[in-house]
């Protein structure tokens, strides 16, 4: 289907199902239940899942295929956000021109930075991208204030021209972002028994774009271009002595992944029209590195999983507090309950980053292929066990477990 083989098609379908049914999947708990606070099916949260998914998919095209570790990708996301907000200020509130512009601007910016940074490889490349990102961040905070509005961040005002729209709505407020009239914030709520599911226009736009981005990344992975990028990672020397110029290949990968980041930034601004410099900081670049590697760098589905995993548990963990823990462990004797809560306490709530850091280290140390490799190992282990069982109990019918 769509020019993909069976395996890739099924990956695409899985991701499509996850994305399109997210309002159900992420809202497993009835609204009144005590666990309702662990639902994640809220529009803004779901938007973040898929937007960071796009960011990570793009990052993976660079890092996963070529092995070039960039610590500056947040700069492209930031640039995308700024461009989109400017589009909302100058042109109008339709998200399409804003998204298009953010992708183009981020692509151009990536072309510039990539052209310079890719003259070096390895650690030097990482540090160059780091330096560029930090430079952009510092500039956005200081001299570029007329464009970025400095520390406050770029916001919409009632005075913005919006030549294809209105500066202010009839009731005197700032207009909202829309897709040809469909407001991004509009949400349809569906109540099914005790459950309430929210279907948000903005989320579905992001999800569809993410699917397109994912589909595109599959195509790139399976194309001759993708193969060349893997060859770059494997042996640059052989590339050069096979008549292939590695520079344009890596630069193209860098620009494409920069455009993905810009797309993510543009979508972020389309959902919530403001942009701040902190989105460009190098630690923000670090986050996409975490997502990609946690999920599985170089695999197709890994970055999507990683982004979803991190954003989901960030939400869940930050909501767990001691009270919640006490109810969970109330079956234990009192002293033990307190002890367990005491031990877990540093890792929850605001301690989520600690958990994330440890998890990330464990993945880098023991599971370089990330969650995807973990899944494969479990699958391999299960199938080995199964075949063993099958060997022992030959002739018996396997009960469907």
């Amino acid at each position: 289907m769509f020019g993909l083989d069976k395996k890739d098609t099924s990956k695409l379908i899985i991701v499509a199902c996850l994305a399109l049914l997210a309002p159900f999947i992420l809202n497993p708990f009835p609204t009144d239940s005590a666990l309702a606070q662990f639902n994640a099916g809220y529009p803004d949260l779901m938007q973040r899942f898929v937007i960071f998914g796009i960011f990570a998919i793009g990052f993976n095209i660079l890092f996963g295929l070529t092995g070039y570790l960039s610590f500056g990708h947040a700069a492209f996301l930031g640039v995308g956000s700024y461009s989109a907000v400017w589009m909302f200020k100058l042109i109008g509130m339709n998200v399409i021109p804003a998204i298009v512009l953010s992708v183009i601007v981020a692509g151009l910016f990536a072309l510039l930075i990539g052209f310079v940074s890719l003259r070096r490889s390895g650690i030097y490349f990482s540090i160059l991208t780091l330096a560029f990102a930090q430079m952009s961040f510092n500039l956005a905070y200081s001299v570029l204030t007329p464009i970025t509005n400095g520390e406050t961040g770029l916001q919409l005002t009632l005075e913005d021209p919006r030549i294809l729209g209105v500066s202010a709505t009839a009731d005197g407020s700032i207009p909202v972002t829309n897709l040809f009239g469909l407001e991004m914030r509009s949400t349809f709520e569906m109540a099914v028994g005790p459950w309430a599911f929210q279907f948000n226009a903005g989320y579905y736009l992001c999800a569809l774009i993410m699917l397109a981005a994912f589909y595109l990344s599959i195509r790139i992975f399976r194309s001759p271009f993708g193969m060349m990028l893997r060859a770059v990672k494997s042996n640059q020397q052989r590339m050069n002595y096979t008549g292939l110029n590695t520079r344009p290949y890596t630069l193209a990968a860098f620009v494409i992944s920069g455009m993905y980041a810009g797309l993510a930034g543009g979508l972020m601004a389309s959902m919530d029209p403001l942009a701040g410099a902190e989105r460009m900081q190098w630690t923000a670049s670090g986050e996409v590195v975490l997502m990609t590697i946690l999920g599985g760098a170089g695999t197709l589905i890994g970055p999507v999983l990683g982004a979803g995993f991190i954003k989901y548990f960030e939400n869940i963990f930050s909501k767990i507090n001691d009270n919640v823990l006490h109810t969970w462990f109330s079956f234990l004797p009192d002293g033990m309950e307190d002890a367990v809560v005491f031990i877990i306490h540093p890792f929850i709530g605001k301690g989520w980053h600690l958990t994330l850091g440890i998890l990330f280290m464990l993945v880098v140390i023991f599971l370089p292929g990330g969650l995807v490799e973990g899944g494969q190992r479990i699958k391999g282990w299960l199938s080995r066990r199964k075949s063993k069982d099958g060997g022992k109990a030959a002739g018996e019918t396997n009960p469907a477990e």
Binding site: R119, R120, S126, P346
Partner: protein, 340 residues
Amino acid sequence: MDAILLQILNGLDKGSAYALIALGLTLIFGTLGVVNFAHGALFMIGAFCAVTLQRILNLSFELVDETQKDFLGNPLKVKTPYVEAWFGPDIGGSIIDWAVPLAILFAIPIMIGVGYVMERGLIKHFYKRPHADQILVTFGLAIVLQEVVKYFYGANPIQTPAPDALNGVVNLGAAIGMDIVYPVWRVVYFFFAVLIIGGIFSFLQFTTFGMVVRAGMADRETVGLLGINIDRRFTIMFGIAAAVAGLAGVMYTPINSPNYHMGMDFLVLSFVVVVVGGMGSLPGAVLAGFLLGVLESFASMNEVKSLLPGIDQIIIYVVAIIILLTRPRGLMGRKGVMEE
């Protein structure tokens, strides 16, 4: 003229922090060949050693003092630090006052210990892995360390003043008939940095241990073939590098109140310094540290800023990028170190 001298001072002062961190980073890179993204975290841990000592010294008991009354007429509860109770208010008071310099003694064993555990427990397993993996795992470690510190000390900066005697300003230009007023502690910091740098260099230059380490930095295999256990020495060097970063952190606390993310803030800069100086070159790291410090403070002069707005924010990165592109081995790096 005064202004220029002042900027040079400012630069040397900033540069001494850069140089110290970069020195440790280079020691680790040069000896173990590991790119340590957790080095900033070591700097941060050092700073929090000072905070911890200050808190320990300020541990107090409460006494109800019947002679003093608060405004409601109740007897006043007076807090007395144990230190003052044991050594008397004068000596005890000055011990507390000198918490930051004293923290040097406190921090050295702790930092060496932290470095040792880090190397044996984690870094050791990454010698043979690609540099990208080293970056990633130490980046993860940096996150963990800073979150642990945040858990215990909170997210807000903690004031850690210098001793009263070193808290004022001094006119450094008096002797040559000029007016250069400068904070005393920053002068102390500069000389402290020079002392540490000098110490490390003479240690490497004049002791057998240092000689072996230098030989190992140049050619690890040969030294290993001579039957010298280079790994053990490298482990110790990691501890020393951690201690250098930690001491830089301890002494930095009066200049900037420490917070949990100060390590990450310094990390990027110190990597830039290392790269400019030349990966694996100790003199390069020191030179680049001071050089970039001075450049940065000149760039922040109003005259320069009005000419090139924003230059102070980016000068270091611009220099780093130019150097990386034109002379990838940095100012003093050996040819071939990490050039693919």
